[in-house]
Protein backbone atom coordinates (compact mmCIF):
# COMPACT_ATOMS: atom_id res chain seq x y z
CA UNK A 1 0.00 0.00 0.00
CA UNK A 2 1.28 3.43 -0.92
CA UNK A 3 1.11 5.93 1.90
CA UNK A 4 -0.34 9.41 1.39
CA UNK A 5 2.96 11.07 2.30
CA UNK A 6 4.87 8.92 -0.16
CA UNK A 7 2.40 9.74 -2.95
CA UNK A 8 2.64 13.45 -2.19
CA UNK A 9 6.43 13.13 -2.25
CA UNK A 10 6.26 11.51 -5.69
CA UNK A 11 3.87 14.17 -7.00
CA UNK A 12 6.10 16.96 -5.66
CA UNK A 13 9.20 15.27 -7.09
CA UNK A 14 7.48 14.87 -10.47
CA UNK A 15 6.49 18.54 -10.50
CA UNK A 16 10.04 19.55 -9.61
CA UNK A 17 11.59 17.50 -12.42
CA UNK A 18 8.85 18.75 -14.76
CA UNK A 19 9.85 22.30 -13.89
CA UNK A 20 13.49 21.53 -14.78
CA UNK A 21 12.34 19.97 -18.08
CA UNK A 22 10.16 22.99 -18.87
CA UNK A 23 13.00 25.38 -18.06
CA UNK A 24 15.37 23.43 -20.35
CA UNK A 25 12.91 23.59 -23.28
CA UNK A 26 12.17 27.29 -22.72
CA UNK A 27 15.91 28.06 -22.52
CA UNK A 28 16.60 26.06 -25.68
CA UNK A 29 13.92 27.92 -27.64
CA UNK A 30 14.64 31.31 -26.05
CA UNK A 31 18.41 31.27 -26.49
CA UNK A 32 17.92 29.85 -30.01
CA UNK A 33 15.81 32.88 -30.90
CA UNK A 34 18.39 35.23 -29.35
CA UNK A 35 21.17 33.51 -31.32
CA UNK A 36 19.21 33.91 -34.57
CA UNK A 37 18.64 37.57 -33.80
CA UNK A 38 22.01 38.62 -32.43
CA UNK A 39 24.47 35.92 -33.58
CA UNK A 40 25.58 37.50 -36.83
CA UNK A 41 25.81 41.11 -35.55
CA UNK A 42 27.94 39.93 -32.61
CA UNK A 43 30.27 37.93 -34.87
CA UNK A 44 30.63 40.92 -37.23
CA UNK A 45 31.38 43.20 -34.30
CA UNK A 46 34.11 40.83 -33.04
CA UNK A 47 35.62 40.64 -36.53
CA UNK A 48 35.68 44.41 -36.94
CA UNK A 49 37.20 45.22 -33.53
Amino acid sequence: MIGGGSLMGSVDAGMLIGAVLLEAIVLYIGYGAVEQLLGEPVVNRIKNN
Partner: protein
Amino acid sequence: MSLALIVMFVGFGLLIGILFGFFGMGGSFLVTPALLVMGYDANVAVGSGLAFVFGTSVIATLKHRDLGQVDYKLGVLMIAGTTAGIEVGKIGLEYLQHIGLAGSVVSVAYVLLLGGIGVFVTYEAMKGSGGGIDHDVDEDADLEDEEIPEIAQKIQSYNVPPMISIRGGFRVSLWMVLAVAFATGVLSGFLGVGGGFIRMPALFYLIGVPVPVAVGTDLFEIVFSGGIGSFLYAQSGAVELGIVAPLLAGSALGARVGAAATNLVDEDDIKVYFGVMLLLGAIAVAVREIGGLLEMPVLDVVSLAIILGAALLVSGAVVYSGVTVLREDASAPPSTAD
Protein backbone atom coordinates in the same frame (compact mmCIF):
# COMPACT_ATOMS: atom_id res chain seq x y z
CA MET B 1 18.90 32.39 -1.32
CA SER B 2 20.74 35.68 -1.85
CA LEU B 3 20.98 37.46 -5.20
CA ALA B 4 24.78 37.16 -5.08
CA LEU B 5 24.50 33.37 -4.78
CA ILE B 6 22.05 33.19 -7.72
CA VAL B 7 24.41 35.30 -9.86
CA MET B 8 27.30 33.05 -8.85
CA PHE B 9 25.34 29.93 -9.89
CA VAL B 10 24.42 31.50 -13.24
CA GLY B 11 28.07 32.43 -13.79
CA PHE B 12 29.29 28.98 -12.81
CA GLY B 13 26.66 27.43 -15.10
CA LEU B 14 27.87 29.66 -17.93
CA LEU B 15 31.44 28.42 -17.51
CA ILE B 16 30.28 24.79 -17.34
CA GLY B 17 28.03 25.30 -20.38
CA ILE B 18 30.95 26.64 -22.44
CA LEU B 19 32.99 23.56 -21.50
CA PHE B 20 30.06 21.19 -22.24
CA GLY B 21 29.29 22.88 -25.56
CA PHE B 22 32.92 22.83 -26.62
CA PHE B 23 34.07 19.40 -25.46
CA GLY B 24 30.68 17.65 -25.51
CA MET B 25 31.50 16.30 -22.07
CA GLY B 26 32.84 17.40 -18.73
CA GLY B 27 31.66 20.24 -16.62
CA SER B 28 28.57 18.66 -15.14
CA PHE B 29 30.68 16.55 -12.81
CA LEU B 30 32.23 19.73 -11.46
CA VAL B 31 28.87 20.79 -10.02
CA THR B 32 28.62 18.18 -7.26
CA PRO B 33 32.16 18.80 -5.91
CA ALA B 34 31.50 22.55 -6.02
CA LEU B 35 28.27 22.09 -4.02
CA LEU B 36 30.10 19.82 -1.56
CA VAL B 37 32.81 22.45 -1.16
CA MET B 38 30.11 25.10 -0.57
CA GLY B 39 28.86 23.05 2.35
CA TYR B 40 25.69 21.44 0.95
CA ASP B 41 24.80 17.98 2.26
CA ALA B 42 26.09 15.13 0.09
CA ASN B 43 22.57 14.02 -0.94
CA VAL B 44 21.59 17.60 -1.93
CA ALA B 45 24.86 18.03 -3.87
CA VAL B 46 24.32 14.71 -5.69
CA GLY B 47 20.54 15.18 -6.23
CA SER B 48 20.86 18.74 -7.51
CA GLY B 49 23.85 17.69 -9.66
CA LEU B 50 21.71 14.97 -11.26
CA ALA B 51 18.83 17.40 -11.90
CA PHE B 52 21.28 19.81 -13.55
CA VAL B 53 22.65 16.96 -15.71
CA PHE B 54 19.05 16.09 -16.69
CA GLY B 55 18.28 19.67 -17.81
CA THR B 56 21.57 20.03 -19.68
CA SER B 57 21.11 16.70 -21.50
CA VAL B 58 17.58 17.70 -22.58
CA ILE B 59 19.04 20.80 -24.24
CA ALA B 60 21.89 18.81 -25.85
CA THR B 61 19.51 16.09 -27.10
CA LEU B 62 17.27 18.67 -28.73
CA LYS B 63 20.31 19.76 -30.76
CA HIS B 64 21.02 16.18 -31.90
CA ARG B 65 17.48 14.95 -32.47
CA ASP B 66 17.31 15.64 -36.20
CA LEU B 67 20.68 14.10 -37.04
CA GLY B 68 19.48 10.48 -36.85
CA GLN B 69 22.36 9.52 -34.58
CA VAL B 70 20.35 7.68 -31.95
CA ASP B 71 20.12 3.88 -31.65
CA TYR B 72 16.83 3.63 -29.75
CA LYS B 73 17.12 -0.11 -29.07
CA LEU B 74 20.58 0.37 -27.58
CA GLY B 75 19.30 3.43 -25.74
CA VAL B 76 16.41 1.52 -24.11
CA LEU B 77 18.79 -1.29 -23.04
CA MET B 78 21.18 1.29 -21.60
CA ILE B 79 18.28 2.88 -19.71
CA ALA B 80 17.33 -0.49 -18.18
CA GLY B 81 20.89 -1.23 -17.04
CA THR B 82 21.53 2.33 -15.86
CA THR B 83 18.30 2.51 -13.85
CA ALA B 84 19.27 -0.61 -11.90
CA GLY B 85 22.76 0.84 -11.42
CA ILE B 86 21.43 4.19 -10.14
CA GLU B 87 19.31 2.39 -7.54
CA VAL B 88 22.35 0.46 -6.32
CA GLY B 89 24.48 3.63 -6.30
CA LYS B 90 21.79 5.54 -4.39
CA ILE B 91 21.40 2.74 -1.82
CA GLY B 92 25.18 2.74 -1.39
CA LEU B 93 25.24 6.50 -0.84
CA GLU B 94 22.37 6.37 1.65
CA TYR B 95 24.13 3.61 3.58
CA LEU B 96 27.31 5.67 3.71
CA GLN B 97 25.27 8.66 4.92
CA HIS B 98 23.78 6.44 7.63
CA ILE B 99 27.24 5.58 8.94
CA GLY B 100 28.46 9.16 8.42
CA LEU B 101 31.00 8.50 5.66
CA ALA B 102 29.11 9.75 2.59
CA GLY B 103 30.92 13.08 2.19
CA SER B 104 34.39 11.54 2.51
CA VAL B 105 33.75 8.54 0.24
CA VAL B 106 32.05 10.60 -2.50
CA SER B 107 34.94 13.08 -2.34
CA VAL B 108 37.62 10.36 -2.57
CA ALA B 109 35.77 8.70 -5.47
CA TYR B 110 35.69 12.08 -7.23
CA VAL B 111 39.40 12.62 -6.66
CA LEU B 112 40.20 9.22 -8.18
CA LEU B 113 37.76 9.62 -11.10
CA LEU B 114 38.60 13.21 -12.03
CA GLY B 115 42.31 12.62 -11.45
CA GLY B 116 42.37 9.42 -13.48
CA ILE B 117 40.51 10.88 -16.46
CA GLY B 118 42.53 14.10 -16.15
CA VAL B 119 45.82 12.20 -16.34
CA PHE B 120 44.54 10.17 -19.32
CA VAL B 121 43.28 13.19 -21.30
CA THR B 122 46.39 15.27 -20.54
CA TYR B 123 48.72 12.42 -21.45
CA GLU B 124 46.87 11.71 -24.72
CA ALA B 125 46.71 15.41 -25.62
CA MET B 126 50.43 15.96 -24.94
CA LYS B 127 51.22 12.78 -26.88
CA GLY B 128 49.54 14.43 -29.84
CA SER B 129 46.45 12.30 -30.39
CA GLY B 130 44.15 14.94 -28.98
CA GLY B 131 43.01 12.93 -25.98
CA GLY B 132 39.93 10.75 -25.79
CA ILE B 133 37.46 10.71 -28.63
CA ASP B 134 35.79 13.40 -30.66
CA HIS B 135 32.38 14.29 -29.25
CA ASP B 136 31.40 16.85 -31.85
CA VAL B 137 28.27 16.45 -33.91
CA ASP B 138 29.32 15.24 -37.37
CA GLU B 139 26.48 15.37 -39.85
CA ASP B 140 28.57 13.79 -42.61
CA ALA B 141 29.86 10.86 -40.57
CA ASP B 142 29.75 7.51 -42.40
CA LEU B 143 28.94 4.93 -39.75
CA GLU B 144 30.25 2.02 -41.83
CA ASP B 145 33.68 3.68 -42.10
CA GLU B 146 34.11 4.11 -38.34
CA GLU B 147 37.21 2.33 -37.07
CA ILE B 148 36.38 -0.20 -34.36
CA PRO B 149 38.90 -0.25 -31.46
CA GLU B 150 40.82 -3.49 -30.89
CA ILE B 151 39.27 -4.17 -27.47
CA ALA B 152 35.76 -3.71 -28.90
CA GLN B 153 36.55 -6.14 -31.73
CA LYS B 154 37.61 -8.69 -29.11
CA ILE B 155 34.43 -8.13 -27.08
CA GLN B 156 32.26 -8.35 -30.19
CA SER B 157 33.86 -11.70 -30.95
CA TYR B 158 32.44 -13.20 -27.71
CA ASN B 159 29.27 -14.98 -28.75
CA VAL B 160 27.22 -14.96 -25.51
CA PRO B 161 23.53 -15.13 -26.50
CA PRO B 162 21.33 -13.28 -26.94
CA MET B 163 23.27 -11.24 -29.50
CA ILE B 164 21.79 -7.93 -30.67
CA SER B 165 22.53 -5.87 -33.78
CA ILE B 166 23.73 -2.30 -33.29
CA ARG B 167 23.39 0.59 -35.72
CA GLY B 168 26.66 0.70 -37.64
CA GLY B 169 26.42 -2.88 -38.86
CA PHE B 170 27.65 -5.26 -36.13
CA ARG B 171 26.37 -7.53 -33.37
CA VAL B 172 27.26 -7.65 -29.69
CA SER B 173 26.18 -9.61 -26.63
CA LEU B 174 23.23 -8.12 -24.76
CA TRP B 175 25.02 -8.88 -21.47
CA MET B 176 27.99 -6.69 -22.35
CA VAL B 177 25.65 -3.75 -23.09
CA LEU B 178 23.81 -4.25 -19.80
CA ALA B 179 27.08 -4.56 -17.86
CA VAL B 180 28.40 -1.25 -19.22
CA ALA B 181 25.03 0.42 -18.52
CA PHE B 182 24.86 -0.96 -14.97
CA ALA B 183 28.41 0.12 -14.10
CA THR B 184 27.86 3.68 -15.33
CA GLY B 185 24.47 3.75 -13.56
CA VAL B 186 26.12 2.91 -10.23
CA LEU B 187 28.51 5.85 -10.73
CA SER B 188 25.57 8.04 -11.74
CA GLY B 189 23.57 7.34 -8.60
CA PHE B 190 26.58 7.40 -6.31
CA LEU B 191 28.31 10.51 -7.58
CA GLY B 192 25.47 12.50 -9.15
CA VAL B 193 26.96 12.54 -12.63
CA GLY B 194 25.24 11.80 -15.92
CA GLY B 195 27.87 9.16 -16.56
CA GLY B 196 28.36 10.34 -20.14
CA PHE B 197 32.05 11.07 -19.75
CA ILE B 198 32.55 7.41 -18.79
CA ARG B 199 29.77 5.79 -20.87
CA MET B 200 30.78 7.54 -24.10
CA PRO B 201 34.34 6.11 -24.15
CA ALA B 202 32.94 2.79 -22.84
CA LEU B 203 30.41 2.55 -25.71
CA PHE B 204 33.18 3.30 -28.21
CA TYR B 205 36.18 1.47 -26.74
CA LEU B 206 34.39 -1.53 -25.18
CA ILE B 207 31.36 -2.15 -27.39
CA GLY B 208 32.55 -0.57 -30.62
CA VAL B 209 29.54 1.70 -31.19
CA PRO B 210 30.43 4.27 -33.90
CA VAL B 211 31.19 7.63 -32.29
CA PRO B 212 28.26 9.59 -33.82
CA VAL B 213 25.78 6.90 -32.69
CA ALA B 214 27.45 6.72 -29.27
CA VAL B 215 27.02 10.50 -28.88
CA GLY B 216 23.34 10.55 -29.86
CA THR B 217 22.40 7.41 -27.93
CA ASP B 218 24.31 8.56 -24.87
CA LEU B 219 22.49 11.89 -24.81
CA PHE B 220 19.13 10.16 -25.29
CA GLU B 221 19.99 7.85 -22.40
CA ILE B 222 21.22 10.63 -20.09
CA VAL B 223 17.84 12.38 -20.40
CA PHE B 224 16.21 9.32 -18.85
CA SER B 225 18.93 8.35 -16.36
CA GLY B 226 19.34 11.96 -15.21
CA GLY B 227 15.55 12.36 -14.99
CA ILE B 228 15.03 9.11 -13.05
CA GLY B 229 18.02 9.78 -10.79
CA SER B 230 16.94 13.31 -9.94
CA PHE B 231 13.32 12.13 -9.42
CA LEU B 232 14.50 9.54 -6.88
CA TYR B 233 16.50 12.18 -5.02
CA ALA B 234 13.69 14.74 -5.30
CA GLN B 235 11.35 12.32 -3.51
CA SER B 236 13.50 12.73 -0.41
CA GLY B 237 13.75 16.51 -0.90
CA ALA B 238 17.38 16.39 -2.04
CA VAL B 239 16.92 18.50 -5.21
CA GLU B 240 17.03 22.27 -4.74
CA LEU B 241 15.45 24.17 -7.63
CA GLY B 242 17.17 27.31 -6.33
CA ILE B 243 20.49 25.67 -7.28
CA VAL B 244 19.44 23.90 -10.48
CA ALA B 245 17.47 26.73 -12.17
CA PRO B 246 20.24 29.39 -12.20
CA LEU B 247 22.90 26.80 -13.11
CA LEU B 248 20.77 25.68 -16.07
CA ALA B 249 20.08 29.26 -17.18
CA GLY B 250 23.82 29.90 -17.35
CA SER B 251 24.81 26.58 -18.90
CA ALA B 252 22.22 26.76 -21.72
CA LEU B 253 23.75 30.05 -22.86
CA GLY B 254 27.31 28.81 -22.34
CA ALA B 255 26.60 25.65 -24.35
CA ARG B 256 25.71 27.78 -27.39
CA VAL B 257 28.93 29.78 -27.03
CA GLY B 258 30.98 26.59 -26.64
CA ALA B 259 29.25 24.88 -29.56
CA ALA B 260 29.90 27.93 -31.77
CA ALA B 261 33.57 27.82 -30.74
CA THR B 262 33.90 24.20 -31.94
CA ASN B 263 33.42 25.47 -35.50
CA LEU B 264 36.37 27.85 -35.06
CA VAL B 265 38.97 26.36 -32.76
CA ASP B 266 40.99 23.17 -33.19
CA GLU B 267 39.80 21.05 -30.27
CA ASP B 268 43.16 19.28 -29.99
CA ASP B 269 44.85 22.61 -29.21
CA ILE B 270 42.88 23.07 -26.06
CA LYS B 271 42.30 19.55 -24.74
CA VAL B 272 45.43 19.69 -22.65
CA TYR B 273 43.79 22.53 -20.68
CA PHE B 274 40.73 20.34 -20.22
CA GLY B 275 42.87 17.56 -18.75
CA VAL B 276 44.57 20.08 -16.45
CA MET B 277 41.15 21.36 -15.38
CA LEU B 278 40.08 17.85 -14.37
CA LEU B 279 43.30 17.41 -12.42
CA LEU B 280 42.71 20.74 -10.65
CA GLY B 281 39.17 19.56 -9.84
CA ALA B 282 40.62 16.42 -8.25
CA ILE B 283 43.12 18.53 -6.27
CA ALA B 284 40.32 20.85 -5.11
CA VAL B 285 38.29 17.99 -3.66
CA ALA B 286 41.41 16.53 -2.04
CA VAL B 287 42.26 19.92 -0.48
CA ARG B 288 38.73 20.12 0.95
CA GLU B 289 39.02 16.66 2.46
CA ILE B 290 42.40 17.51 4.02
CA GLY B 291 40.83 20.71 5.37
CA GLY B 292 38.11 18.60 7.00
CA LEU B 293 40.60 16.19 8.52
CA LEU B 294 42.85 18.95 9.86
CA GLU B 295 39.84 21.12 10.83
CA MET B 296 41.07 24.03 8.70
CA PRO B 297 37.99 25.75 7.14
CA VAL B 298 40.27 28.03 5.09
CA LEU B 299 41.09 25.04 2.88
CA ASP B 300 37.39 24.88 1.86
CA VAL B 301 37.75 28.37 0.42
CA VAL B 302 41.02 27.41 -1.31
CA SER B 303 39.29 24.35 -2.77
CA LEU B 304 36.34 26.36 -4.14
CA ALA B 305 38.76 28.91 -5.61
CA ILE B 306 40.64 26.12 -7.41
CA ILE B 307 37.41 24.70 -8.92
CA LEU B 308 36.09 28.08 -10.08
CA GLY B 309 39.57 29.11 -11.28
CA ALA B 310 39.99 25.92 -13.32
CA ALA B 311 36.57 26.32 -15.00
CA LEU B 312 37.24 30.01 -15.63
CA LEU B 313 40.71 29.30 -17.06
CA VAL B 314 39.59 26.69 -19.59
CA SER B 315 36.32 28.33 -20.64
CA GLY B 316 38.22 31.64 -20.99
CA ALA B 317 40.78 29.88 -23.20
CA VAL B 318 37.96 28.53 -25.40
CA VAL B 319 36.34 31.96 -25.84
CA TYR B 320 39.71 33.69 -26.37
CA SER B 321 40.76 31.14 -29.01
CA GLY B 322 37.41 31.52 -30.80
CA VAL B 323 37.64 35.32 -30.88
CA THR B 324 41.28 35.13 -32.06
CA VAL B 325 40.37 32.82 -34.95
CA LEU B 326 37.46 35.08 -35.98
CA ARG B 327 39.74 38.14 -36.06
CA GLU B 328 42.47 36.27 -37.96
CA ASP B 329 39.90 35.18 -40.55
CA ALA B 330 38.68 38.76 -40.90
CA SER B 331 42.19 40.16 -41.40
CA ALA B 332 43.34 37.39 -43.80
CA PRO B 333 43.58 38.39 -47.49
CA PRO B 334 40.75 36.97 -49.67
CA SER B 335 41.57 33.72 -51.50
CA THR B 336 42.30 33.96 -55.25
CA ALA B 337 41.98 30.23 -55.87
CA ASP B 338 38.91 30.68 -58.04
